[in-house]
Symmetry: C2
Subunit: 396 residues, 2 copies
Amino acid sequence: MNDAPEIDELVPPDRTLMGPGPSDVHPRVLRSMATPLVGYLDDYCVEVMNDVQDGLRYLFQTDNEHTFAVSGTGSAAMETAFGNLVEPGETVLVPDNGYFGARMGEIAERAGGEVVTVEAPWGEPLDPADVEAAFDEHSPTVFGFVHGETSTGVRQTSVSDLTGIAHENDAYVVADTVASLGGVEFHTDEWDVDAVYSGSQKCLSAPPGASPITFNERAVEKVRTREEPVRSWYLDFEGVWEYWGEERNYHHTGPISTLYALREALRLVSEEGLEGTWDRHERVAGALKEGVEAMGIGLNVADEHWLPTLNPVRVPDGVDDGEVIDRLIEDHGIEIVGGLGALDGEVFRVGCMGHSARPANVTQFMAAFGSVLADGGADVDPEAGAGAAASALDPK
Amino acid sequence: MNDAPEIDELVPPDRTLMGPGPSDVHPRVLRSMATPLVGYLDDYCVEVMNDVQDGLRYLFQTDNEHTFAVSGTGSAAMETAFGNLVEPGETVLVPDNGYFGARMGEIAERAGGEVVTVEAPWGEPLDPADVEAAFDEHSPTVFGFVHGETSTGVRQTSVSDLTGIAHENDAYVVADTVASLGGVEFHTDEWDVDAVYSGSQKCLSAPPGASPITFNERAVEKVRTREEPVRSWYLDFEGVWEYWGEERNYHHTGPISTLYALREALRLVSEEGLEGTWDRHERVAGALKEGVEAMGIGLNVADEHWLPTLNPVRVPDGVDDGEVIDRLIEDHGIEIVGGLGALDGEVFRVGCMGHSARPANVTQFMAAFGSVLADGGADVDPEAGAGAAASALDPK
């Protein structure tokens, strides 16, 4: 027999989560996770699932029947969207202006798709004219775009223009809203998006592990008329819908505690109201933006594409970004992260999502960030940053 | 704008979970889920992952480096095993004596495999002679078997014989231990199994959502020399190992709270010791078995293949199984389930796993079960059942 390991009591350090997710989890959501379980086919579990579906339809602003939570984290939802909608040999158009557009391509390829890209610089959104040109050139069947790019902090506006182009070309549109849903405006039905997915650990202040997704009838019809089965059994829409649809039959065991958490998170959104949560994110992240700008540091995104939930703060000259990130977490318990891909070393990524989109988090962050930057040799005035943020947050 | 739904406070009914999982979750595990999160690349999260891997190696009785938790429920672990090991065109041998053997086949087919079966009646294990004959006939590359069949309550013994046959034929062996690992003896290395997976919500008393898996070097070598990429991106071994291996690089966001829970569950196993937990399952489930037999009702499995964690209790003559199941949950808050497939209507499936493998659960179950059966018209003596179980549990 191998020996038993020694495992100590679970005592995580205090953290203030201002990175790209997870966000701070709301105390009511944490408490819901400690609730004893019922079976995954228990009548009460079915009620929990109904509540989750009602809450998600509100969150997505959709009447889509086929709205549910994937039993995995955000990338599992991404694979559920592309893995079901894409059939082998179909052309799939994805953006190349961020990390998660590239991931869409990897997943579509595994599904057997032929991937083509529409280009834009990292730090800018897609231009509808370029999307139109890509449709003319490649005639894709499925088009994916990222509403809030976690890797760049860019918000894709003109969503209706994009879906209009796709639908004129008889294509299906998938939107990634992992870093945006619940934090900024999104209207699934009004904007006519065929499939939309998200995560639980960003704007919803819940732990990762159950990920929102919705398909409209047009998308479901495409999935149901596939010639080949979906390549993943676990993420197969038809199978999963056996559990989430009217039948409530066993497909796989649902992540019950995580569904409790998602339900409580959606209950919080419903209580605050979506307009309320959108306003809060804009106001609180707006204070962060003003604080950063008052220190003479800009965001690496144009104002009209600013994504309040994920702020790409430029690394000031002469500053070692890794050192700043380390000092923030080691000395202040604050998590932020660096840039990815083309923005590596160029930006800090500062999240302001869900329960982390609170005045207390922003004032704590601004004080620590200014002090660490000044210590790190940046030519900034920490007091100006903290002062501007505090002033913007002042309710008077 | 669509209106916000009304969602009430989360107040599940009291349940005693004696079905095929989830089991009752240990209070320490529940509490761990309410612990505030750290980021998924935080140094502390890496420590949590290290502890989980140490605990899983002990649980699996293996020195395999490639031991980790899949970010999904048990079927996601099943797909991780077959989806990575099976390449298109390879022949995959699976059992046809239970529901989960059939699922192995469905998943292997999605991976591009050609599926063949080795037969045994539902309620009996595979006979090594039949496995040998199937190898001779089909020359499979991958052979899957179920160590503890949740659908039948049968324990596959002679595991070393099975792996011996497979390895003589240069095939790879995958074991499903979802309903057995931690509850009954299993020795990954000693029995020479190439890949083994399990679930968290059965013998480990944790919520579903992070599922144990281990691959030996031989299996990893096969995965690494694949000609085609794995068809699921989310469950791709190489990608997932970027996160769980030495690099600890981002692949997808790990289900942090569920990893906390799994860690606490493994800590409990390490404290009790594996032999201790195996003994407890045998003793407590043994009392349940004696109680049932004292009422003149048998288990639908031979003693030498009895799986203490999942007891297929025969439905007595003249009894409506669905009515008994409904009365147990409605009047007593106790969850058990009916038979599946060939055993539908023939057996009740009564779990006795993890934190549900406690004397209190068995005495509560025996009292309620006997009373409901007698009310339902069965010719049984409830007092004999409760008495026999209590006597078997008496520590004197």
